[in-house]
Amino acid sequence: GSDDGGSADNNDDSGAGGSGDEPQRGGTLRQSMLPVTLLDPAVNANYSFGQIMMIGLWEGLVVADANDPIQVVPGVAESWDISGDGLIYTFHLRGEARWSNGDPVTANDFEWNWKRILTPGIAGESSPSYNRDRISVVGAADYMNGEIDDFSSVGAKAIDDATFELTLEKPDPDFLIYLSQFWALPLHPATVERLGDGWLDPENWVSNGAYVLDEFRVNLGAVLLPNDHYWDKDNYYIDRWEITFNDGGTTADLLSYQSGDLDITGRIEDDLEAVTTSDVADELMSSGTNQYRHLIALNSRHPALHDIKVRKALALAVDREALGGVGKPAIPGKSLVPGDVEGSDEVPGVEYDLEAAQNLLAEAGYPDGEGMPTITILDFQTSPWVEAIAEMWRKNLGLNVVLDIVELGVYSEKLNVPVHPEDYVGFMVTNNSVQPPTVVGAAYNNLQPIRTYGMNLSPPEAVDDILDELGADVDTAQIAAKLDGKRHPEVEQAVELAREALAQTDPEARTSLAIEAAIARDESYVSIPALWGGYFLLVKPRVQNLKPWFHTSVMSTKGVWIKQ
């Protein structure tokens, strides 16, 4: 076992302001984010903004390292040991860890929380934050499924007050990174047991992070105040953290930000362009690029997109340099493995090659686009870069391209269609991230559920057979299993390689297989990569030392101070 622990002191790193001044105490940090509906880490909280607050309110065993996206630093656990076979993690809790009411944080609290997270019905079996496909604590999946009721057979145990132990089914080099995520944050057992849902009330608030919740109003905002009992409170300089919820779009926030009502806003994703063309463009901060925007082919009875030549032609006909201009501050993205992901430099990606594209199209039997069906691009919001791609296809390949911008509900229904009819041929627009930002993390994306990830580009007949066999109400995992072997060969290969990579325990082999899987996926041209981006925040210069954690789209206020 090795002790990766050590005190993390980020204060000496210069932040956004880039000045080497001594941190000043005090001040209010005013931040705007999408409305957070619920602050329960165990229940699915899809919004990164909720996580930003959670990361401030609670502290888990380990904490993501702001300086290195794939490392962790000690949290409640002062140090930890990993057994030689990589299966047993023993965490040593720091003695000074306290709940905001003064109670010490014990290993039993963690065990209680693990039980809560895994108990069916509490966290909600339909929306587990604990991802059983990726994290494999012994017995956890069975307990969650209700197959065992005895929690003592689950590999999450308090050895004594200061020692907590987790046992894995198989070694996982990324396990600590997972553990640093919000779902593993601990609630205060006594409060939850006493109050039920009432623990969410700010009046009853107890947590073990740097902040406590002072105010929370639905659709309006929240106020966080420093937690006097927090062991590391000296590294938190802000007096008050005011959060406003905004579902009104970018412009509203941008105006607030520009007129000085806000220090940080992350509500700019809809219209980054408005930010980059504004006079505060240079206050834009970005995490590393671990996101990719792409078009995923939808399954249709029309044969065109079932021909890899056509898909490849479409992929090659996209001038990504030009897209980069439209999609700023996102950058041209030639592959499904974004640039800041470890190992991405080994994935060559797709290059713009108009001539090749035209030739391919002709080869496939559609010279100059003749005979090609109308290509539809399905989306629920308008994005300039999508319109730009449509225009490129029209111009470069002579295709008829229409945008099908629909309301979110319609969008979701269209995604649920396993095979679209002949006259509906096209792509959906989506934005994904690679988490953790490694090629191995990217390999997971090859295995994602079919309908949202387009790996179902299989012959329509095969899909029909499966549906006939399984009936209407089946879950995606089942379909995925049935699909094995029936996909188009290039798709099949990408899936197989990813499976192999994930099954590998040897890190080196795992990485190289993952790279192969990523390349195979790129070359199946089921997804057409377009742009890479990270997570963007507008941060006022007076906010010093802020570092977004790019792999979870979360930032921490540790070490952040406000220049008065």
């Binding site: 619920l38 699915n44 899809n46 934050s129 109003r217 579902d247 926030d253 979110l408 934005n431």
Partner: protein, 368 residues
């Protein structure tokens, strides 16, 4: 009188039931369910998390497997007990809690906005009427019509650009203190003010045409006395028929201004519910809207009755509405119809006041 109110209340309840059925029916037609959307939202909204999958435990209560009628029944039972339960989007809060909070916000804008409207509109309308066909009249009518014609959100935009972004006097958006109320209140009041001022003007002109004005002058009243004691009074009475709906419209929240200015009012809640297919919340807010509107109309009718002795008399003497005959008076709703026709129906419009019973096929004889 009591019988009248009771009858109206019964009708109100029936209407509410109809509204609930229509809303629920429409919701069944709308593509996508809350859980679908949540799932798509998690991956497609450009908002990444490590947790995948979506849905909500509530979906099992109102989810796909529960037949529609049962969902409806569950909701309505909850409504009757004033316990509509959690919403899809906010599983930790109940529909009534959310609506209560949002309503308070909307109300705290609606009250000052309505007052502002009255304070500004009445003098303007009066001056325009008294100075009919003079420059002041033309000028104000021109301005008022222009204001009334433009989209309401425009004023919010302009105010924000001028006072927040340009001058930096007021916050751009949000809801944290009195200074946050200025822009929304003014933005909300602009159009009703224009509408009301025009209404006051035509109402005054109408009253000025009445012979009792000449009669009062012929008794030796000065123009001012007559204007205040007779004209103003009589022409302001029908105002309740407009002010009521205006207030109702403001109190139910105005989506655009709320969304634009980040105010957590009813309009925003409602829009959110519609967009996320949050059935309990949508049903709750829609019914609440309808309720406010109808209650306001009822209040308008009662107040109108209180202010106008003719109608008061009718309400007292008959449990049912009779068309006022030969007295030359119209039901309030018709007053509204005839004068605000032209005004877009931005929630203002006619109330359903004492009119309905002109209906009998043998409607009484009306003379010209």
């Amino acid at each position: 009188m009591l019988a009248y109110v009771a009858r109206r209340l019964v009708r109100l309840v029936l209407s509410l039931i109809a509204v609930s059925i229509i809303t629920f029916g429409l919701l069944q037609l709308v593509p996508g369910s809350f859980s679908d959307l949540a799932e798509v939202g998690s991956t497609a909204l450009g908002d990444q998390t490590s947790g995948d999958g979506g849905g909500d435990s509530l979906a099992s209560r109102y989810g796909d497997q529960v037949p529609a009628w049962e969902q409806y029944a569950r909701f309505m039972t909850g409504l009757v007990q004033w316990d509509m339960g959690p919403t899809f989007k906010y599983p930790q809060s109940s529909v009534e809690e959310l609506m209560g909070e949002a309503f308070l916000v909307s109300l705290s804008l609606a009250v000052p906005a309505t007052l502002l409207t009255l304070l500004v509109a009445i003098p303007i309308g009066m001056v325009a009427a008294v100075k009919k066909d003079k420059l002041a009249d033309y000028g104000s009518i021109f301005t008022l019509t222009t204001i009334q014609a433009l989209p309401g959100y425009l004023f919010a935009l302009v105010l924000v650009l001028v006072f927040s972004v340009g001058l930096g006097w007021l916050p751009v958006r949000g809801w944290a203190g009195p200074e946050y109320m200025v822009i929304p209140v003014v933005a909300l009041a602009v159009q009703p003010t224009a509408m009301l001022a025009r209404y006051v003007r035509s109402s005054m002109l109408e009253a000025l045409r009445d012979e009792y004005v000449v009669a009062a002058l012929a008794k030796g009243g000065s123009r001012r006395t007559v204007l205040v004691r007779h004209v103003l009074r009589n022409s302001l009475i029908p105002l309740v028929t407009v002010v009521g709906p205006i207030f109702a419209a403001l109190a139910t929240g105005t989506v655009f201004v709320e969304v634009l200015l980040g105010i957590p009012g009813l309009g925003r809640l409602f829009t959110l519910a519609a967009r996320t297919r949050d059935m309990p919340l949508l049903m709750g807010t829609t019914l609440f809207f309808a309720l406010i509107l109808m209650v306001m109309n009822l209040i308008v009718d009662l107040v109108y009755g209180l202010l106008d002795p003719r109608i008061r008399h009718q309400q007292r003497t008959s449990s049912r509405w009779r068309r006022p005959r030969r007295a030359g008076l119209l039901p309030a709703s018709q007053l509204v119809d005839s004068r605000t026709q032209g005004g877009r129906d931005d929630g203002g419009g006619g109330s359903e006041t004492p009119s309905p019973d002109v209906s009998a096929a043998d409607g009484t004889e009306v003379r010209r």
